[in-house]
Amino acid sequence: MISLIPALPLLGAILNGLVLQKRASRVVAGGLASLMVGLSAALSFMTLFQLLGGAAPIDVPLWTWMSAGTFSADIAFRVDQLTATMMCVITGIGFLIHVYSIGYMDDEKDKDSVWRFFAYLNLFIFAMLLLVMGDNFLLMFVGWEGVGLCSYLLIGFWYENNDYASAGKKAFIVNRVGDFSFVVGLFLLYWSLGEHATMNFHQLEEVIASHPELVGGIGGCVVTCVCLLFFGGATGKSAQIPLFIWLPDAMAGPTPVSALIHAATMVTSGIYMICRLNFLFVMSPAAMATVATVGALTAFLAATIAITQNDIKKVLAYSTVSQLGFMFLGVGVGAFTAGFFHVMTHAFFKALMFLGSGSIIHALHHEQDMRKMGGLAKYMKLTFLTFLMGYLAIIGFPGFSGFFSKDEILWLTFITPMFESLPLGTVMPKVLWLLATSAALMTAFYMSRLMFMTFAGVYRGGAHAEHGHDAHAHADHGHGHDAHGHGHTPHESPMVIVGPLVVLAALSLFGGLLNLPHWAAEHGMLHHFLDPVFEHGKVEFPEHNPLEFPLMGLTLLGIAASVGLAYTFYVKNPEKPALLAARFQRLYQGSLNKWYVDELYQATILTPLVTFSRQVLWAIVDSQVIDGLVNGAASVAQKAGALHGRLGSGKLQTYAISIAAGAALFASAYALG
């Protein structure tokens, strides 16, 4: 039964992608794909309830994949509490987004490609399930690269647009940089274990528990290197510094893809991986400190960029990068459950907001520029109300899911004992807390900005009758919307789109109940459930601290102030932002241009590498030096014996004679002997 969970979406992908193809209409293709994921979700929840009922983790061995000498890797699944929770998030949200996509893809001009979209989407669910279900590094890596492939295919879904195709390629290659780090970490780990070497997570946990000295013990160099290399892999997949640059570009894909892959599921695989390897990471406070610091810095940096973006999807994209930073901060300070809890709540509210933005974009015929929106609350009530839930969740409005998960991370960061053994170990948590809290305040600001620019005021798009054309040029998806005409007023999206929004809004609102903080309940449900997973990776946080509520109050005040600031900027005095931007031109341009990180990489890595390869390796080393030597040698031979003339003449005898001469030489040697 467990095998069916990934098998069904795979079957859907095969049916749509190879069998039905153009024969499947949008509804058939989408219906089939949704059905497969829906069934898969049902089975996942059954498994989850089984585990909630106290069942032991389920092992499903399938076949031995590859082996040589003592090395062996299996195709086998292992479903424990962590995996089951992820499976439900993936298939549950996946199902909602599949359904949503049926509505969203209705204006695809090239109706022939809708089947392709759903085939990729199903394939993604399959790969993502492999990633979390694999019981060993290699199978996880299949999923790990598999989701990268689907991401590549879906970002470049409108492949006729070169920019989109490039964005897909960029995502894949940047991820490969991370994967490189990941496999090197794996090789190092495997090597250090010597005769105990294994690819299996469960066995690894046992080996490490009984022989911690193999990886250098707590604080050892080997374990630190291994963890840092694994984390390098996570920075690729989960878009952290220094590899976060692909995610904002990934927004070139259709919006449901952004919601599913680039917000709710795939980008959280890095956090999943660290949670999976918690027993290893806790052995290295230095690696944990790196994870936490990179997380906090990314949260901060991405927030500074999100503040000035005008494309609604770009704001959400940088906000995702920033929220992923929070999750890494959580796991980095040893609060694995808190980090993972934020994975879940973020999946709810970010999927919701992406789908909400999709609903807007769909209604405005692929307009993504917030400067051409405004006043939409009036036209799209349900979209607005559901979006509002997501907004309140992400800024951490008390009671909403994001409040609980983010607050837990902030608080545990403040009191973490994780870095005590490190230099500056007592100051570090406070600095991280400060960074993260300022990121949280900025989040409140830019999300409010997004809300006000989109939903408040008056609609700024309808004024230009021609906007439809601009939008089309701006987002040249090959979409046909001619039938809709121009100069329209925005309208609410159909039920198939709004339905999933309502479900996600409910989850964003009530998701916090899944893991109530210690002051509200005896123990959080998720906390309790995931306990066995973190058996060897438990970090003991101090129980009570008088600062907890004052800090929470402080944060809430700051958030309220940020919202107020955004209100004055974007509702009361809309001319203010421009004045400020003019005053701080440098800062504004830096933020608007993403601090020129892309340009930096282009100038320092890509361009030199290509130029060097072309001008030096290819033009000089290969064509001149090596070939020069070879051709030089040949021409010497030619001059000496007019060899080339005869060889080049194409006469059979010449070659036969040369071969014969060789053989004769050999033969005569024998004869002489």
């Binding site: 090395f71 490189f180 290197c225 070879v630 031979a637 080049g648 024998y670």
Partner: protein, 511 residues
């Protein structure tokens, strides 16, 4: 007739038959002939005892008795896989040639069959003289395939191939003759038989120069950096079928030569020169990938990717441990499938557009969706996407390599990034983007014949990626025997110890 002789000589005989056929019947005749050879080779697979590490299907008789030359054939799991790769690829190549070869198909097919027999010969020969004969025999048909059916600069490319290979062969010859005399000195008897020669215990100095000679011959064939420059020219000028057979099988003769002859015969020399060859292999991986990245000609790009991929194979072989060597052998097969398929795909486009320049394409997916799908699968197979064949070999090589030489392996592993870069960039420029070139607007998608020779390779890419143990079960026992033989010699050497290559602080920690 014994099976190995049959599989080796039948294609040559059938090649002669095809040469005598009328032009009109030669297509079907050649195709049927190659399929017959494939069918005949299947009992090798079914009859092979997977657990056995010894040579199987052995045929051993005197050939030139007074010189000690024997007609000694036999296969282990490694040769088995390479033979099947050869017999499976040949029908596909001939089928592809139906449209690509515009003149004298009969001659083309006859040479192709002779070539097939000669290549199989190199994989079954267990006598050095016999091996040398087949080795040289391979060159002839290849020379003509390029020289007659090639592109504009075919003569230049063919001569370059010829000179490079013959130069290498001469060195090999010298080493083999030297070995022949060494054996006589040691035992008083004459023999060219590999099993006899393996019993010799040579001084390290002797081993070194002999190994150097053989290694040069094989390195040219692989081809390893810096003796690789014949390959891009040969690939670019060769007809599609020539490129495919070159990439799929012929290059493997070089790596196979290392595995079968150069390394087991001279293990002390492997200890001495191993680091040097690993260095060249790693340079080849990175260099090949970087140069591939900047090519404008898609065939050249694939050719340089071969340099890079074969570098992995060499790294695996010289890792001298089970995962490394098995991975290296497996990568030989993978490269045969994926690069062979890439050349076939390029051939499909070339036949339609008569250009190999990447800029002449763009947006092809729109008009050739089936082609695009297959091209994409093969592209990802080539860049080692898990689930497809390329990953298995690459991963095992790097895993084994890291146990042995961590720093070079880390550099080699960066090739996975570069590999993705040049392949995806090429794919994007050819297949994605708007369809701007008018000449491409009416391109026909794959026809049934083209699907017939491409689909088997796609299926194999999946099968070999998901069930590699089907093959590895047969390869591993042979590899373990190989590793054991090498182990006896390299244990005392510092080169054998992976720790030595790691930063000392890291190595000490792990003690």
């Amino acid at each position: 007739m014994p099976l190995l002789s049959l599989v080796t000589l039948l294609p040559i005989a059938l090649g002669i038959v095809v040469a005598a056929m009328p032009q009109s019947a030669s297509r079907m005749g050649a195709l049927v002939a190659s399929i017959v050879v494939f069918v005949v080779s299947i009992p090798l697979w079914t009859g092979f005892d997977a657990a056995g590490a010894e040579y199987q299907f052995v045929e051993d008789m005197d050939w030139i008795a007074q010189w000690g030359v024997r007609y000694h054939l036999g296969i282990d799991g490694v040769s088995l896989c390479l033979i099947l790769l050869t017999t499976a690829m040949t029908p596909l190549i001939l089928l592809a040639g139906f449209s690509g070869v515009e003149k004298n198909f009969r001659g083309y097919a006859a040479l192709m069959l002779v070539l097939e027999g000669a290549m199989i010969g190199t994989f079954v020969a267990l006598d050095t003289f016999l091996f040398y004969v087949f080795w040289e025999l391979v060159l002839l048909p290849m020379y003509f395939l390029i020289g007659i059916w090639g592109g504009e600069r075919r003569i230049y490319a063919a001569v370059k191939l010829f000179i490079y290979t013959v130069a290498g062969s001469l060195f090999m010859l010298v080493a083999l003759i030297g070995l022949y005399y060494q054996f006589h000195e040691a035992t008083g008897a004459w023999s060219t038989d590999l099993s006899d020669l393996l019993t010799l215990s040579l001084t390290p100095a002797t081993q070194k120069w002999m190994f150097a000679c053989l290694a040069l011959a094989f390195a040219i064939k692989v081809p390893m950096f810096p003796v690789h420059t014949w390959l891009p020219d040969a690939h670019v000028e060769a007809p599609t079928g020539g490129s495919v057979v070159l990439a799929s099988v012929m290059l493997k003769m070089g790596t196979y030569g290392f595995y079968r002859f150069a390394m087991p015969l001279f293990p002390d020399a492997v200890t001495a020169y191993g680091p040097f060859l690993i260095a060249l292999a790693v340079i080849g991986i990175v260099y090949g990938a970087l140069v591939a990245m900047v090519q404008d000609d898609v065939k050249k790009l694939v050719a340089y990717s071969s340099v890079s991929h074969l570098g992995y194979v060499m790294l695996g072989l010289f890792a001298l441990n089970a995962p490394g060597v098995s991975g290296g052998i497996y990568q030989m097969l993978n490269h045969g499938i994926s690069t062979g398929a890439l050349f076939l795909l390029v051939g499909v486009l070339y036949e339609r557009r008569h250009t190999r320049r990447i800029v002449d394409y763009g947006g092809i997916t729109k008009v050739m969706p089936k082609f695009a799908l297959i091209f994409m699968i093969i592209t990802f197979s080539s860049i080692g996407l898990p689930g497809l064949n390329g990953f298995v070999g690459e991963f095992m090589i790097l895993l084994g390599g890291f146990q042995f030489a961590p720093i070079p392996t880390i550099i080699a592993a960066s090739g996975v990034i570069l590999g993705a870069t040049y392949m995806l960039w090429c794919f994007q420029r050819m297949m994605f983007g708007p369809l701007q070139n008018e000449a491409n607007r009416n391109l026909k998608d794959l026809n049934p014949r083209e699907l017939a020779y491409l689909l088997p390779l796609v299926v194999l890419a999946f099968v070999m990626g998901l069930f590699p143990n089907v093959f590895l079960d047969r390869i591993n026992p042979s590899v373990e025997r190989f590793v054991e033989r090498m182990e006896g010699h390299f244990e005392a050497s510092p080169y054998a110890c992976g720790d030595a290559c790691l930063p000392s602080w890291l190595a000490q920690e792990a003690e």
